[in-house]
Amino acid sequence: MSLQKPIMRGLLAKRLRFHLPIAFALSLIAAAAFKYGVTEPRKQAYADFYKQYDAMKEFNGMKEAGIFESVRPSGE
């Protein structure tokens, strides 16, 4: 029983034709997942933190804690 002639040309092209769109799609999905799963929540967390941030209050808290050299707590 002799063998039929198989397809011998363009095998890589055929494989790429199938796999490359999948690869691109998966890469885009991975990038989108990271953007919306990690970076956007992170940015939102920072935005939320600083929305009600009172710099002077924080500064005075640090000052009273005595961590600065140029300005001492109000007691000294």
């Binding site: 040309r9 363009g10 095998l11 890589l12 790429l16």
Partner: protein, 141 residues
Amino acid sequence: MFSAVVRLSASGVRSLARTRPCYTAPLASRCYSHGKAETDEEFDARWITYFNKPDIDAWELKKGMNTLIGYDLVPEPKILDSALRACRRLNDLASAIRILEAVKDKSGPHKGIYPYLIQELNPTLKELGISTPEELGMDHV
């Protein structure tokens, strides 16, 4: 090969109709906007002629095989026949057996190609006294 990657990745399924003329001859041929693309038969004939050169030298044999292996295809039996005869003229049994190993490797996951090639090349292998890697036990580690 790179041209195949660029063509296929950029357009995917949408441009199947547009790229089809190139797709049927996707080997070393480029998608010229000028001139005709080489047909498969012309490609095969060119390579058969290359290896049929009576006074081909060892360098040309190696160069030819390396170039041929670089294409996105498994060489036709008639090209391999021509190359094996060139090996015979050069008294290079090692290269002859290596050619068989190479085309098996080129088939990749397509297990049907190599048995077909051996089937087609059997008369030549017998005539030239070339053993296959399998017969020599060289097909496994």
